[in-house]
Each structure stands twice: as structure tokens, then as C-alpha cells.
Symmetry: C4
Subunit: 243 residues, 4 copies
Amino acid sequence: MTLVLTELPSSTQEAVAATRERVAALHAELPRNELVVWTAGNVSERVAATDPAVPGLMVIKPSGVSYDELAAENMVVCTLDGEKIDDGTPASLVPSSDTAAHAYVYAHMEEVGGVVHTHSTYATAWAARGEEIPCVLTMMGDEFGGPVPVGPFAIIGDDSIGRGIVETLEGHRSPAVLMQNHGPFTIGKDARAAVKAAVMVEEVARTVHISRQLGEPLPIAQEHIDSLYDRYQNVYGQHDQKG
Amino acid sequence: MTLVLTELPSSTQEAVAATRERVAALHAELPRNELVVWTAGNVSERVAATDPAVPGLMVIKPSGVSYDELAAENMVVCTLDGEKIDDGTPASLVPSSDTAAHAYVYAHMEEVGGVVHTHSTYATAWAARGEEIPCVLTMMGDEFGGPVPVGPFAIIGDDSIGRGIVETLEGHRSPAVLMQNHGPFTIGKDARAAVKAAVMVEEVARTVHISRQLGEPLPIAQEHIDSLYDRYQNVYGQHDQKG
Amino acid sequence: MTLVLTELPSSTQEAVAATRERVAALHAELPRNELVVWTAGNVSERVAATDPAVPGLMVIKPSGVSYDELAAENMVVCTLDGEKIDDGTPASLVPSSDTAAHAYVYAHMEEVGGVVHTHSTYATAWAARGEEIPCVLTMMGDEFGGPVPVGPFAIIGDDSIGRGIVETLEGHRSPAVLMQNHGPFTIGKDARAAVKAAVMVEEVARTVHISRQLGEPLPIAQEHIDSLYDRYQNVYGQHDQKG
Amino acid sequence: MTLVLTELPSSTQEAVAATRERVAALHAELPRNELVVWTAGNVSERVAATDPAVPGLMVIKPSGVSYDELAAENMVVCTLDGEKIDDGTPASLVPSSDTAAHAYVYAHMEEVGGVVHTHSTYATAWAARGEEIPCVLTMMGDEFGGPVPVGPFAIIGDDSIGRGIVETLEGHRSPAVLMQNHGPFTIGKDARAAVKAAVMVEEVARTVHISRQLGEPLPIAQEHIDSLYDRYQNVYGQHDQKG
């Protein structure tokens, strides 16, 4: 019993259309910020609930389509079980192979409205060693409130990637997790915030890596990390919407 | 007795024209993905056989022409012995100096429809040490199904480069080989797939290099590599054509 | 008692308008030179004093606005206490969260007309180790006249960042300081010169870092550093305005 | 007794005009290939001798002008003593501060028609250690015919930079020299060839650096280097003009 987009309430159809526009546009940030090559990487966003009778939905990139061809009309609509609904995209456009992981996050973390996955170079390099990124930059204090944690090794095929993401993020302030041997997943209140976290995790992964190449970065005291994080999330945070 | 393009069957002429368009367009991916500088690097594609009376043909970049000037009409047509046919390009446009290596691959690997050669930085850095890239990333499991192997030292002048490529690739799942002190050669079912492999081999060469700068990446168990490779080639693979 | 831009002398209003144009345009140099990601980084310029009755003013980037949207009309005007004046920008555009540090520099270093702050990768990597960049390149002799010094760890909230910048720069020829665990701040006679210093500090941070990865760079004798610096500031310097 | 361009034979004026076009256009290759930041770097070309009564001339970039503003009409014409002639550029446009070094090369190496100087990152990093780049890549055999040598430490003010370049290059096949603590200078039969050498020296400096970060690159036997160099300069070389 597949959901059919054109049979859903018009408020839902409008929310889906707006989400598709946003998700398609945000994909351009991934190559622009050099987080992806070829067709790798994906952005998704939860569709705002406008009608209690409609199950939760998300919009995600189709699988294997080049970044130049990512228009709103070929973004795929799925349920939070990761199943594509009858959404008007050609049958050949199947959702990203990481859809199950995104869906698991939405299903288990109510506050999350956007998810991004990349294989960005430096973050993936830390992930390949299974090593968390220590919080040695004030911008990490601001954005991550501590280290960027590592999630378990997991391969596609069941819900083990999704579970690994959720279980790791629930114990940290960080909106990014480095899945071992795989790469970063990031979350945010919407897709834009998750994309920002994907940009920032690569930035801090690169800067801390380079710093450590010639010695040990100086630690930042926990009280300063707390202070940076509180201020950024509460004071600067209110203006962050514009960014 | 040089072949003359305009004397070949019209089906062959059409196949050549289409191949030239594709090969010219794909060359833009090499600088775009930062795999080449100046006039280095080359893409070729086998011309689909449309007439049993016509010997095997390939289309390749001319030698020493800048990437800005690579139009379909100056792509060179060669036999699988690496000889330019009378193809309508100016006599001054000779085929890439790597043509013999490409031709050897087509002549000896029937399933190969595209070949790419670059000196991309990180892949060439592994090649200069004669060291294979270990499979420590899930995306390597997906795309390469194991390590990226090293081929022998060989210099231009006989068929030793071509032989080195073929003998090395026949023992591996990888569509990429790092020719020692030289650089990567990649293969695919068509030129687009070989270009994708050229992009991916540089990506994994860079990521694994950076990971190893600060410690040893964690190995992935062979059974997981097998599982990643099987799934990607069989499930994801069917959609890969779009990429 | 907030200053109102439209009530200030017309000479001041004109100076503000011209400064806004320059500061907005110069922000484009930060992403162009790969010194910033997302909305990080900021440029400010002191408004030329045209009327003794008007207190000192500066123009700075608004907080959290993307680089694509940085037009002259949303550059924020502040006093040298870091307070936004009633300047015609929407109330939602608050000045950069680094405004207090910029203002402190203008208030305490009369000769400074421009300030830039970034988290550029290599400069920040040195800052995270709290290590100054040694003067081992002739271009460092030219531009910095010695090492690039490190300033103290300081967090946003009082004037400790501004004080750290001023106290460190006063003991050095360098127009750049690496604030520990944070990133570079640079100064100049105007915003353009401070942007140039931000570009150059990242360039020398990167080059010296890479040089040191494989051994120790050769020192340059102090007399040669002095000679390079004197010549560049005095002979080449006169033409530097065009730059 | 300053030379006046408009009083020189028309054949010389035409040669100057054509050289200015080429030199201006080639400067675009420096930022495009990421060899320079801000206003650093310079390209020059010898003006072809068309009249035995006219002393040798060269065209070079003006000092401190941004890459966006480098039009043919502001390229500066100098004698091989490095003196600007009355060439129609505004008096404010003085020749690059490296003009004396370029002029010395033209005056002492008859076969050289083009000179380029940059501070490109990896080449400068080797220069800062005073370490030659070993010939461990087949493309180095092709282009450099051996290692890239290091020239002496020398500072602007007399002819010591020019002498250092000439004395070092005369003992090597390499068209590039790494001036200690300073950066690369490259030569060629014309400016285009010198720009190519500037691109290639950075490419091999980067690749060999990265290779050595994780171990020692494998040497290439001298006979193979000789064979690569001979073939490339003699066989491939004839087509190199097109590149």
C-alpha cells in the first residue's frame, strides 16, 4: 500500500514541494565546499508535519545522479521506514543508498529536521583510524561543544548504521559523528543546519589534523569549552538562522 | 595501408562521431576534479563494433593540446595497434603519447570499453613508493573491492606499460592500477566509468594517505569488504549508469 | 543615546557610505583566497574622521550572513566601543560577534585603519599549538619582518581578545597575530592592507608548515631579515597601494 | 638617455606589442594553477630581435598590480639592464621588483626567451630547506631530466639572484631552480614554456613531498631518466608547441 503524493492533503503536498526545493538547492553546497566527489554524499530533510493523518515523510537525493542534475523535481520522497512513495519522480530514480540511515535518525531523534552524509577527506581520515577529533579550537567549542565522536563500524544492509549514529550522538553535544572506516554524518534542526555541520566538521577535522602533524595542539579547559558552547548556542545562536 | 574514416561504413562513422563527443566532453572532468595540470592526462574509449569487417578502433586525446581546446573534432581515432587512422584531424594532431598503453588494454581486455591515465597527486605519490593502497574505507570496498594494486616500473617505447597494466589488473577487482613511479591507469566498461574510477582512486589515495599521517587506519575484515563490493556492484550498480 | 547615521554631518555620512562599499567588496577576498568557510571571518575598517564632533566609527560585517549576501547596505556601523549605531540596516543585522575585538584595536592603535579575522586553516593550526611561525622565507622578511607571533588564549565576553591582540602586536613588526587555539587577526593602514596580511599569513603558515613536515627549514640571518623588511616597506612599499 | 618606444623601428614596436599581449595573457595561468596569491609572482618574455640597432628588450609585469588588472597595456618594457624604457605605461607602473633577476638571465643565457618566478607552496617549501627535489617520477624524467636543483641564498639589491639562477641552471637539465628560502625561478624558450615549467615544478614538488611523507620514494635508474628525457625532448617535444 504505497502512499501516493497527489492523494495526500494539499498542505502536505505544499510542504513536500518546499522541502524538495530546499534539499535540491542545499546539495550545491556539498561540491562547493569540496565535501564530495562524483555522486557521493547526500542531504535529506524531514517534511514538516501538517496533517496528523499523514505518516512522517522525508526528502532525499536520488542515488547515483550527478550534482549538476539535482533539480527539485528529482528529489525523492520517502517514509521514515525509508520506502519511496509514489512521488512523481521517474521510477528509475531510487533514493540514495544511505536512505535507511537517514530515516532511522528521523524516526528516533524527534528534534532532528535535517541529515547530511559525506565522505569529506579529513573527517573520513579520522574515521578510518576510529579516532575522535579533540576539541582544541575555539570554533569547535562554539559549534561542537566538545570532541567530535566516533561511531561503530557498520555496513549497509540493516539498521546498524542508523543505530550507530543515534546511539553515538545521544551521548554528545556534537551534531556530527564519524562512522568508523566510513565517514561523517551530521544532523541539524533543518537541512541547512546539517549542511553547516558537515562543512564545519570537515573544517575542524582538517585544521586539527594539520596542527597535530607538527606537535600536540594545546587543550582547552572544559570550563572554557562550556562557556564557548553556551554563548554560541544561546547568544550567537539566535542569529544563526540567517547564516 | 592506412584506414580512411570517410571510407568506413556509415554505422562506424556514426559510432566514431558519438565516441568523439563523449571522449571530448569527459576530458573536462579531469581538470574539474583536479586530476591533471597543463596538458597531462588522457581519456580514451573503444568504438563500438558495428561492422565485423572493420578492425577495432579507439578514440583518444591528441598529444599536448590544452584542456580548453579539446573539442570533438580534434579527438584522434586509432586502431588497437595504436596507429592513427586518416580521421579528418589535422596532421599536426598526433595521438597522446600514452596511446600504445591504452590500445594494449583494449586489445587484451575485451570487457574494457574505456581507459584513463592521469598523474593525480596522491595516487602518484603512492606509485612513487611502489606501495598499494590498503582497503580501509567502506567506499574502497564499494568501488575497488580490495586494495589498489601497484604495477611494474615501465617506460614508454614498447608494450611494457600496457602489459604491466593488464597483468596487474587481471589479478584484482580494482579498476585502477598504480604504475610504479608513474601514476594511475583506470579502466571501465566505457570512458565515463573509467573517469569515475580515476576520480575515486585519487579520492581514496588522498583520504588513506591523510589518515596514515597520524597513525594506522583500522583494517576492514575481508568478509565485510566482500559484502560491500558485492552489494555495490550488484544492487547499487544497476543505477550507476546514471551517475 | 544611540547615534543616528542620518543625523550625522554629511561628510561623515559620505565617509561611511564609501567605507561600507569597500568593506563589502573586500569580504569577497576571504572566500576567494580560501580563508573562510560558511559565514566565518570578518573584515572591518575605521571610518575616516571628517568632523571632530563625531566619535570614532568603524564598519564591520553583520553576524551570520552568507558571503553571497554581503552588500554594502548590510555592513554594520559601530562606535569604537563596539556598539551598533542606528545605521539603516535592518534591526536583525547585528554586528559580527568579533566586533568588540576589532573596536578595541581601533581604540588602542591609532595607526590601524583595517582589521581582519579568519580561521584560515594553516594559521589556525599553528595557533592551536600556540607556536609562532619562524621567519624562514624571504617573503616573510618582506611582509612580516620576523616571526608571526602568538597571542594569549582568550574567549569572547570581555576585552581580553582585543587586549591580547594589541599587546602582542605592539612588540612585533608583524601585522598578524595568531590568537592561541583561535586563529589569526591582522591589521593594516586600511581594510585592504589587513586583508592582504590575512592572505599572506595563511600563505606563510602553509608554506613553512609544509617545509617543516620533511625537516627543518634553514634560518635567515637577522641582518637579512632586516634588510628585506626595510627594502620592502620603503622601496616596494610605495607602490604597494596599487596592489 | 632613455629609450622611447614610439621612436623605435616599427618592427620592434610590433614585436613589443605582440609580446605584451602574450605576457599579459600568460599571467592568468599563475592564479589559475594556484601558483600565486595576491600580487606575487611574475612572468617575462624576451622581445624578439627585429633590428640589430635596437638593444635587447624584455616585457614584464608591473609591480604590485592585482591579477585582475593585468592587461597588455600595463605590461612594462625594460632593457636587459632591467631599466624601464619610455613605453607608454603610466609612470606609476614600475616593473616587478624581480626585474633585475629576469634581466640578468636574458643577458647571460641566450637560449632563454621566457622567465617565471613564483612562491608556489611546495616548491618554496623545498627551497626553505635548501633541498633539491629528487627525480622519482617519470614525469620528472620527461620534463626535468633529473633533480630540480637549489640555488644559493641571495637577496634583492645587486645581481646575486640573477647570478645564482644562471650558475645553478647551467649545471643541470632542469628548467627550474629553487632559490634557497625564496622560491622557484623557471626558464623556457618563450614565456609559455617557462610558465609550463613553473606549473610542472610545483606539481612535482607537491607529489614528491607527499610521497615522502609516508616513506622513501623508489629511485629511478639514471639510464631510465636519460631515456625518458631524450624521448620527451626529441619525440614528444616537437608537438609541445601546441600545448
